[in-house]
């Protein structure tokens, strides 16, 4: 039985969540969990081999956004199978190793959670059947590798290394996104199967070059190819199991995975050859050369990894199927020997306390088994016969010799290959000879070395055994797997022969030459390096990638800051002005095409008859608006009153032009807004008019210039909008979607008031968003006012109340007393207002009920009811109202939102999309025929929320006077106590 592919991705992520929740000291439980998950997935993948080897491609489509053609596609062919095996199999070994490597003091839940999540992301990359999905998982691997490299976040080098890795691979990932967009555009689909079949069309497309460069940037940064190789050595600050996993089998292999995955689509052109082979060869040489001079064992392995990745890239770049097969083979081989070497270094570090080659010597005496294993693995890395590295390297040599490329390359390639081979022999020797052989210097080490626990060594043994078996019996052990894995990459498999012995041919001589040359190089460099010379690699050692990277980052930050200073402003007036100006320009450009005369002349639509009353009304309205502008700075209440006049004229205009709904709503909003601002004005200290008068002439002149500028902008904006509306109103519009709503409102929405039907039905989603905003604003206002500190000038009693002598006997009742204020002169309004409340509630219900068929609806009804409540507050005072009525605006908001959402969700139950309306006719005694639409319940939600939000906003402001009073009383008490 095969589990679906999704388990291979989902299981590690699920395990990651569980691991994160386990207690800190549960090292065994954590590692068992992670190991079981990795092993389970690995076995699952292994069981799929017969199907995959038969050429089957397993595919699983999970619909995600089917209407957009976006599915979550998992796809496993031979190549993906091999990579899954690497990711999960080596993952399981790394988990076992990490169990013994991590110290009990380390917070292991975090470690295993990240490791499992990384494993899941990596499986996602290799199994993705959709390019975008692959990029998504690709970015996830960057993210989790960042977390893993920075696992010991108390260490500065770990933080820096993690940040550098994330910056480089993340930036590359962005390039890859762009490249994938282009690739998908060219191929016509993001589905991997379609893209893989579209190779010829892609290569012939004019966008091929930019796309190739972007994709390669993504792959090269991930696989640490020259010139992006510098992040990898800095990532060695990670715990060694992480390095063994990320930098042998997974993270850095993602780059070459991508190159090989897209090989059938992208390869075969000159651009591919020069870019990929060029970068690969440079990396091969630079990495190998630098590795020789490393003194840190992990550093040596890091550079050797770079070099081997360069080799794989080179092989993929040669445009030859046989080379691509060799690349796939070397991916496999490198993962096995490099993972075991990293683990061996971890063992050495763990048992001796150092990784410095200069301090280590003669370790073979103390840990003979580990030494043997590490030596075999290093020999595989050097390409010694009878080990797996030899076979893939031999394939590289024969490709280098027999490749028919341009003449220069033809001759240079074998030389480069041999030189790179010499380097790898030299650093492999350095790794083994210097550390395991030689004098016994172990007395000076931080710890007395000894063999590690058996199970810590087990993963290394398994991997080294694999190296040996593949190296000695390639045809028996690996031939079929390699064929399966390479077939999807190259299409038609070329003939290749995985024999150990091919006779005395040129590649063999090259192998021998590089072996002899490497040994000579090692011994030539040995004594100067022992004497402390050559601590850095000559020629390239001085180029510090880290420093270049940092200075680049610093410059980028500086440039950003500079740009912000140049083009940005933190001044609100400037920002608003820019906003208005941009709007003006955006509107003016298309209007220019029409011409000013056509604009002014208007269109051919029949105009309405001129009404002097209407003109007179707007004369007053415009005068009021200008008056409000005039008074807004010093006489705020006057400005508010004048603005309300303009508002009321607007209300009448709506009513005038047959829009009763708008008139109703605007009228009630007008009332609420006025109350709101008046409540606010209480806490806004008066502005004194003579502040600006005494300023120097220069300042005043500047202010005049500024005002002139603003005035012209304002006039332009006003004239522009007037012209635009004039031009529009005088023209008929040929098409409108409004008839649709008119026609459907009754049969489908079940209401005659089209505007209301649109709000609660056709555009119900929009209204849901709107009432959510309203609720959020109300809660924000409430939250802001809870911590509100009024301006000190306004904290005291208002001047009108201060003017009263304390002993005056008057009708004016202290508004803060708990008594019923409906006495004295307030008796009449208080009684009236209380009588109004039920009436207002009735009107609200009436407006609400008829809303679907006549002007009205939830908004208006809610505003009317909340106004009635607010008036109670105004006349009777906060304390009396709240002592007598249990209003909890927050609950109104919550219930309103819940009702609206539940109504919307209800249509799911009937198998319709969100917010579909259903209608029913009910006959009730007395009331008569009742038309019930589900939109009615939706409107109830709107109503409740509007009441709650309005009440919450206004009462939160109103409560300030109570709070202010309390604060004042406390201060007075303190003062009195201080006096005593």
């Amino acid at each position: 039985m095969h589990l679906p592919l999704i388990t291979l991705v989902a299981l590690p992520f699920a395990g990651s969540l569980i691991a994160a929740l386990l207690p800190t000291n549960a090292r065994n439980a954590e590692s068992t969990l992670a190991g079981v998950i990795a092993l389970l997935c690995a076995v699952q993948v292994a069981l799929l081999f017969p199907d995959i080897a038969a050429g089957q491609v397993i595919r699983q489509d999970i619909p995600w956004l089917p209407s957009l053609g976006l599915n979550f596609v998992l796809r496993m062919d031979g190549f993906a199978w091999m990579f899954s095996m690497l990711v999960l199999g080596i993952g399981a070994l790394v988990v076992l190793y990490a169990r013994y490597y991590m110290s009990p003091a380390d917070p292991v839940p975090r470690f295993f959670a990240f490791l499992l999540a990384f494993m899941g992301a990596m499986s996602g990359v290799v199994l993705s059947g959709n390019l975008f999905q692959m990029v998504l998982f690709w970015e996830l691997t960057s993210l989790f590798s960042f977390l893993l490299i920075g696992y010991w976040h108390h260490r500065k080098d770990a933080r820096r290394g993690a940040r550098m890795a994330l910056t480089v691979t993340g930036a590359g990932g962005l390039c890859l996104v762009a490249g994938v967009v282009l690739l998908g555009h060219i191929a016509g689909s993001y589905d991997l199967d379609v893209v893989l079949a579209a190779g010829d069309a892609v290569r012939a497309h004019p966008l091929y070059r930019p796309m190739l460069v972007l994709v390669l940037l993504g792959a090269f940064t991930k696989s640490a190819q020259f010139p992006f190789q510098f992040w990898l050595p800095n990532a060695m600050a990670a715990p060694t199991p992480v390095s063994a996993y990320l930098h042998s089998a997974t993270m850095v292999k993602a780059g070459v995975f991508l190159l090989a995955r897209l090989w059938p689509v992208l390869a075969g052109t000159d651009e591919w050859f020069w870019l990929v082979t060029g970068a690969g060869l440079a990396t091969l040489l630079v990495g190998g050369f630098a590795a020789i001079f490393q003194n840190d064992l992990k550093g040596l392995l890091a550079y050797s990894t770079i070099s081997h990745l360069g080799l794989i890239t080179t092989l993929l770049g040669l445009n030859s199927p046989l080379a691509a097969v060799a690349a796939v083979f070397h991916i496999l081989n490198h993962a096995t020997f490099k993972a075991s070497l990293f683990m061996a270094v971890g063992v050495i570090d763990h048992e001796t306390g150092t990784r410095d080659i200069r301090r280590l010597s003669g370790l073979a005496r103390y840990m003979p088994v580990t030494a043997t294993l590490a030596t075999v693995a290093a020999a595989a890395m050097a390409g010694v016969p009878l080990l797996n590295g030899f076979i893939s390297k031999e394939m590289f040599f024969s490709e280098a010799v027999f490749l028919a490329a341009s003449p220069g390359i033809d001759r240079a390639l074998p030389v480069v290959a041999v030189v790179a081979g010499m380097f790898s022999v030299a650093y492999s020797l350095r790794f083994t000879v210097e550390v395991f052989l030689g004098r016994d210097k172990c007395g000076a080490l931080p710890r007395q070395p000894h063999e590690p626990p058996r199970w810590m060594r087990a993963p290394i043994s398994v991997l080294v055994l694999a190296c040996l078996v593949v190296g000695t019996l390639p045809q028996w052990s690996i031939q079929r797997i390699l064929e399966t894995a390479a077939r999807p990459v190259v299409g038609v498999l070329p003939d290749f022969d995985l024999a150990v012995w091919h006779g005395f041919n040129l590649p063999l001589w090259m192998s021998l030459l590089s072996l002899v040359g490497g040994i000579a190089l090692f011994f030539a460099l040995r004594s100067p390096m022992r004497r402390g010379h050559l601590a850095k690699a000559p020629l390239i050692g001085r180029i510090n990638g880290k420093r270049v990277f940092r200075s680049l980052l610093a410059r980028l930050t500086l440039a950003g800051r500079h740009t912000r200073r140049l083009f940005g402003t933190r001044r609100l007036q400037m920002q608003l002005m820019l906003l208005v100006l941009v709007t003006l320009v955006a509107a003016a450009v298309p209007l220019r095409r029409l011409g000013s005369e056509a604009l002014l002349a208007g269109g051919d639509r029949a105009m309405l008859e001129f009404s002097p009353m209407f003109a007179l009304m707007w004369l007053v309205g415009a005068g009021a608006a200008i008056g409000a502008v005039w008074q807004a700075k010093y006489h705020r209440l006057t400005a508010l009153a004048l603005m309300s006049v303009a508002g009321l004229v607007t209300v009448i205009t709506f009513a005038w032009f047959s829009a009763p709904d708008l008139a109703l709503t605007q009228l009630s909003v007008e009332a609420v807004t006025t109350v709101l601002i008046m409540l606010g004005l209480r806490w806004l200290p008066k502005r004194l008019e003579d502040v600006g008068r005494s300023q120097p002439l220069r300042v005043r002149a500047r202010a005049r210039v500024r005002r002139g500028r603003d005035l012209s902008i304002a006039l332009c904006a006003g004239a522009g909008l007037a012209l635009l509306s004039w031009a529009m109103m005088t023209r008929s519009f040929p098409q409108s979607i409004s008839p649709f709503f008119l026609e459907r409102a009754l049969p489908e929405g079940g209401g005659r008031n089209v505007v209301n039907v649109m709000l609660v039905d056709f555009r119900g989603f929009d209204t849901l968003g709107e009432i959510t905003v309203l609720g959020v604003v109300a809660l924000t206002v409430y939250a802001l006012l809870r911590r509100f500190r009024p301006a000190p000038e306004s904290a005291g009693l208002p001047p009108q109340q201060q003017a009263l002598p304390a002993d005056l006997v008057t009708d004016l009742v202290d508004p803060y007393s708990d008594e019923d204020p409906a006495r004295g002169y307030l008796m009449v309004p208080a009684v009236l207002i209380r009588l109004v409340l039920p009436l207002a509630a009735m009107i609200a219900v009436y407006l609400f009920m008829r809303g679907h068929n006549e002007p009205g609806g939830g908004f208006v009804a809610g505003l009317v009811l909340s106004t009635a409540f607010i008036v109670q507050y105004v006349v009777s005072g906060t304390q009396w109202v709240e002592a007598h009525m249990d209003l909890r605006p927050q609950r109104w908001i919550a219930f309103g939102l819940l009702t609206a959402t539940a109504t919307g969700l209800g249509s799911f139950a009937l198998g319709y999309p969100f917010l579909t309306t259903h209608t029913a006719h009910v006959s009730l005694p007395l009331i008569g025929d009742l038309h019930v639409a589900s939109a009615l319940f939706y409107d109830i939600g709107v109503f409740l929320l509007v009441v709650g939000a309005t009440l919450l906003i206004l009462t939160a402001l109103g409560h300030q006077s109570v709070r202010g009073r309390r604060v004042r009383d406390n201060e007075e008490d303190e003062r009195k106590e201080g006096a005593h």
Partner: protein, 114 residues
């Protein structure tokens, strides 16, 4: 009639923009409200003006824009009115908090920022 409404929209917009560019917070709030009136009327006018069209479906009247007012701009404006109220409330509270926090009513919180 169209010209009157166009002028009205122009005056409201000009007043609103002018106040928007002023340095005092209260002026900005007033400006936003006035600009709101102007813009709402503008959106409303996009349905073209009609004096005695039916706003509510009546039996026997053909469902086209010659006999009914355009419901779409109205629905949009209705939303805009309510959202406008919410924004005014939010800005007002921010204004009050800012006045208490900075001790002045300049939009940038600093008198010298002009």
């Amino acid at each position: 009639m169209e010209i009157v409404l166009a002028c009205a929209i122009g005056v409201l917009t000009a007043c609103g923009v002018w106040l928007l560019l002023r340095p005092r917070t209260y002026q900005v709030i007033m400006g936003l409200s006035l600009l709101g009136y102007g813009v709402n009327l503008f959106i409303f006018s996009m349905g073209r003006l009609a004096l005695d069209s039916e706003p509510v479906l009546a039996p026997g009247v053909p469902t086209d824009l010659a006999h009914y007012t355009d419901p779409m701009p109205q629905a949009l404006v209705l939303t805009a009115i309510v959202i406008g109220f919410a924004m005014t409330a939010l800005f007002l509270v921010v204004l009050l908090a800012q006045r208490g926090f900075f001790g002045n009513d300049h939009v940038d919180g600093r008198e010298d920022a002009e």
